[in-house]
Subunit: 691 residues, 2 copies
């Protein structure tokens, strides 16, 4: 039935497709012969093909171009294709292609990516294609690979397509002729043939997942299912969110305790929230300062313990999710990577090469100065804002009128506009800079991009608070700002992340969805095109980082921070889960072994926190009063703070060194892996070199 | 040519030995013509055997015990022996055994230790026994392994001997009966059978080495030859000494420059050296302080750059010396390791196991408190010394007499005695503590032992200087102390390391040596027993660390430090080389990949230096005067110092992160190794699991 050649297959499909689909009533569609390209190897023939990825074509794509693309997707890799399965959709001339993957391609890509899978003895081992019989479920792709992995593999194969020789693409202008080793998928995108490529939701699995994730009252998240459905990038975010939220319990309890027992702090908090300007220096009780200090020291040590325990959790996640031994370094470079063609000295393959020192040079001479410039512009903006605010205050005092009254808002408005313009501009610049740095691996690219945006965003958020703390040295103002930021942030979060999504879903999306029951299968997939693209986890992570910043940098100022964050995060877990399941297209997710650059950001913050907290303690009202009363000189206070800072940093470094980053069993596991491959290497050389 | 050389060597050897060897008619020991035990495999039969290690037996060892031991050494490993070659010496009943190693044992041990050797393509690859034909010179042990490696392998095999079953040793009391898995060599030592085991000097090679090392006026050391002859432990020490010495050039030049241009500093230095008590605060010139500051900032940054560059040098040494991929973790545990017999989950072998957490517990609950106690006792001793000194001063002032005059020396004398007693006691305690921690690997044992002694010794050296700097805050006194310490240390060093060794060699050792020309071969080896045991590199390293401490911790106080150290170290290189070549028995040296714990010690010191220098700058005379004159408050000065400290630490951390620890080509090399073993693993599983 599907024995015909590729070209023929496409033609047949275009003629038979409509009727076939009408009669197809099963929720999972597509059997062999229902329009999927033929698989090249007999072992991969399967009765049922699960559509994994949808490729949206441009409106004006000619049928011959689509046929060419479908054929390319189905061609075996040895002939320069992607060895995937393609389906032209309801109509051979329509603007979508559905892509799936046969067993052999999936297995080979699993080896190439270095994923670990369950060995016959029940342990996770790096998958080896030659040895596939010894891995559990390697004959059943449903059980062997997660949906997210299969979808990522499809993307990986599509984006890895490279022209073997110069080729003219049918139906396209000559300027899009492929040169040798051109990345075909990139060319297709730039030619407007491919508009979008995204993984498809699996309604049944999604429903099951959402039920165990956010619909009930459960406290724990089904993290393994999240990883299976959305991939490890998303899995790590939710695992971290979970771990972080429960780690807030100790500081939250301590905060409540301190607030309860120290009426003074309580009052301050209330006053700060209410925006009262009352001077509170005079009313300090003894307990207040010691409460502050306990809170500060506790939170500084807590943050290190938290991060170290997270690393262990992260390592065991990575083991369970099979990403302990990723082989990205040895795989093909990412599609955007360019350089002179040469032999990779590690793998011995021909591929573009780009010297490390040139990348370092570009980072040092271009990226760093540009990022510095933008940070300087943030600072400049802030200083202008303060200057302008003073000016308008002065003007308002001089000429008290309606005009001057409205003028009072001008600096704030201008500053907000300036900041937003800067942030938008910066994002584009950061993207281009990271492209320019020309990283070989996708993860390196992502980490450098994230790091750039992160530094800027963080600076943007905290510049004002640092200015108040270190330059103005105004603790009451800092406390007030912090309290209002925390509460405003939470309210805004609740609205944007829970209320609006719910309303959108209820009144905008739901009507659309109700139709879909009787629609042909393709239309259900088509519906997913209308969903907005998932914006990525950057915003989610930065929110956590900023929270963590409020908590650790200025913890001694406002003890209830952790309580507020805990409440916020419990709802955050649900709203984030709801968002990713319902409101966006499913994102692709590369297998990753950890949070990447975010982990470093949290760690750096926890050290900066020591400096900031010790500084804030020198500004504590009681010490200030002691100084006024002559009990301690200002240099004595400073000395004490320096001593405290050094001791706490030494303790933190020691604690971080003493808590191993990986649980003992993972260390053993890794040593075992290394030992086996050492053994294999010793044995291997013999036949291959002597024969 | 080389074949002929060997044959000739045999002839000479047999000419020298005949009569003595005739008397060797021990039953059961098959001997070749020259008295060596027979090798078990035909490929290893060689005409000429190089004696590598000498085993000195106890005086009362019975001939049957010696015969048993010789037989054991010669027995193949599969029968529980060491698969080495043994020679009973001039006389079968004499008290020495000479040991050598046949080719197969050497090659197998090379694989077991994970040494890298030159592959046929000229690169260093981890040696594989199965693949030995592809390694250069693998048929010629003279070229393939260095002398130090061969000798270490003999030691490794001897100390790895374990009883296969319960065995009574002939000629020994029943209490020395071997139990299953007992370490035989340890039992032999505790039974007094083996008194000493040490590697033999090779006079010809030693002569050649010393000629290119310290006899001429050469500036560079023949480090590869040093590594080949003495092993990588010694190689790394001399490589570091070399690198460190030349790295002193920039701070030395700067120091000279500052001293020359700042007459004030020059004068201070002279005064400090001369011991003048003149108050110099009043005479400060402007340049003085800025000179101090330049020197301090430069030396703080210099130390980081120096350490980072050293790490790169160290990595390339490790590549050249074949220790990049040591497999100590996967080898048998060190002989002193004990625990319940069980299966090692990594290698799958039966061996003693000892849980990690139990070791951690022992370290936390026993080692750390005990070390802390000793440090406390050092501190206590110092405080008592200061107190006693004040007391005797006061007594002397009250009762000025001869008795009180002599009493003035009492505190110093008592303190020196106390310190020495403490140090001696501590060394024993540190050894027992590290034994008690029960480390699996020899390198871990050595590192923990070194770390313990290092902390104590360093504390001992620097407690007084820190006391002067931080508690007494007396910069002139610190400067005086430092200058005198530097000069005294150098003089003492020159005397103990150059003059005394020379005299000993000239007038004590030389007469002995002149006789040896006509002696039989065995007597020449026997002579080496009379040499003292090499005391190890601890004293050499700690000397460098203390130097580095003077230089970096208090660099701003005395700018000429680097100059003095440079002069000292240029001679130090020669005297150390002379010492190890001529005055001691040759030491065993395990293959190591780096300096181990010393590297960490130098790095920590370079960070402590920032704190100490910034603190000393606040005590600088000019700032103190500005404070007196009211130009700056003490808290302003403090703030400046904190700011400087934080900035410098951030710069140091950044520089350390930016300079890669390994040169690019070594990173590639390692990636290549990993890639090959990954490939091997993927291919290997197939036949071994499917067949």
């Amino acid at each position: 039935m599907s024995k015909a050649g590729f070209d023929e297959g496409v033609v047949i499909a275009s003629e038979e497709r409509p009727e076939k689909l009408q009669s197809d009533k099963a929720p999972g569609i597509a059997t062999t012969g229902s329009g999927w390209t033929k698989v090249s190897c007999p072992c991969c023939v399967s009765e049922w093909v699960e559509p994994l990825v949808l490729v949206k074509l441009g409106e004006n794509v000619r049928p011959e171009t689509k046929r060419w693309l479908i054929k390319l997707i189905g061609t075996p890799q040895k002939d320069g294709g992607a060895a995937l399965l393609a389906h032209p959709g309801e109509d051979a001339t329509g603007d979508i292609i559905m892509v799936s993957a046969p067993r052999c391609t999936l297995l080979q890509a699993t080896e190439e990516l270095g994923l670990c899978k369950t060995f016959k003895n029940g342990e996770m081992e790096t998958f080896s294609y030659d040895n596939r019989e010894n891995f559990r479920h390697s004959d059943n792709m449903e059980m062997f690979l997660t949906v997210a992995e299969k979808q990522y593999i499809v993307k990986y194969e599509l984006e890895g397509l490279r022209a073997r020789r110069d080729v003219r693409i049918p139906g396209l202008a000559d300027k899009y002729t492929l040169q040798h080793r051109d990345n075909i998928w990139h060319k297709m995108i730039s030619a407007g043939v491919v508009v979008d490529t995204f993984p498809l939701h699996n309604k049944a699995k999604l429903k099951e997942l959402s039920k165990s994730w956010y619909s009930g009252n459960q406290l724990s998240q089904p993290l393994d299912s999240v990883n299976a459905y959305f991939g490890s990038t998303v899995g790590f975010y939710f695992s971290f969110l979970d771990f972080y939220t429960w780690s807030l319990l100790p500081p939250a309890i301590l905060g409540l305790f301190i607030t309860y027992f120290s009426s003074e702090v309580q009052k301050e908090a209330v006053e700060a929230v209410a925006g009262s300007q009352a001077e509170i220096h005079e009313e300090d009780a003894g307990l207040g300062v010691s409460g502050h200090m306990i809170q500060a020291v506790f939170s500084m040590l807590w943050s290190t313990v938290f991060m170290e325990l997270w690393k262990r959790r992260s390592a065991s996640n990575s083991y369970r999710w099979g990403t302990l031994d990723l082989a990205e370094r040895f795989a093909e470079p990412r599609p955007g990577f360019h350089g002179d063609l040469g032999m990779n000295s590690v793998t011995g393959r021909m591929e573009p090469l780009f010297p490390e020192w040139q990348r370092d040079l570009r980072m040092a001479l271009v990226s760093v100065p540009v990022v510095g410039l933008f940070l300087g512009m943030v600072l400049l903006g802030m200083l202008c804002f303060y200057w302008a605010e003073n000016q308008v205050m002065w003007i308002h005092e001089e000429w008290d009128s309606v005009v001057s009254q409205t003028l009072l808002y001008a600096p704030s408005v201008l500053h907000i506009v300036y900041t937003n313009v800067l942030a938008t501009g910066y994002k584009t610049v950061a993207q281009s800079l990271t492209e320019f740095e020309n990283h070989r691996e996708e993860s390196a690219f992502q980490n450098h991009l994230t790091a750039k945006v992160l530094v800027f965003t963080f600076f943007n958020y905290f510049a004002v608070l640092f200015h108040i703390a270190f330059v103005k040295q105004d603790v009451p103002l800092l406390r007030k700002r912090l309290a209002s930021l925390l509460i405003v942030t939470q309210l805004v979060n609740q609205v944007t992340e829970v209320v609006i999504p719910f309303l959108v879903d209820r009144f905008v999306s739901a009507p659309h969805r109700s139709e879909s029951e009787d629609d042909p299968e393709e239309d259900k997939f088509r519906n997913q095109i209308t969903l907005p693209v998932f914006p990525g986890l950057f915003a989610e992570y930065i929110e956590l980082l900023v929270q963590f910043g409020y908590l650790s940098l200025f913890s001694c100022v406002y003890p209830l921070t952790a309580v507020l964050l805990l409440i916020n995060n419990v709802t955050e877990i649900r709203s984030d889960a709801y968002k990713i399941c319902k409101l966006f297209r499913k994102p692709f997710s590369a297998p990753v072994a950890n949070m990447g650059v975010w982990q470093i950001a949290f760690e750096i913050l926890s050290f900066v926190a020591v400096v900031s907290n010790c500084w804030l303690l020198t500004l504590s009202p009681q010490l200030q009063r002691m100084q006024h009363e002559g009990q301690m000189s200002s240099s004595d206070i400073m000395l004490m703070a320096i001593l405290a800072e050094h001791v706490i940093i030494i303790v933190k470094v020691t604690v971080a060194a003493l808590i191993p980053d990986e649980p003992d069993w993972i260390k053993k596991k890794k040593a075992r892996m290394q030992y086996t491959s050492m053994q294999a290497l010793r044995q291997k050389n013999l036949p291959s070199d002597e024969s």
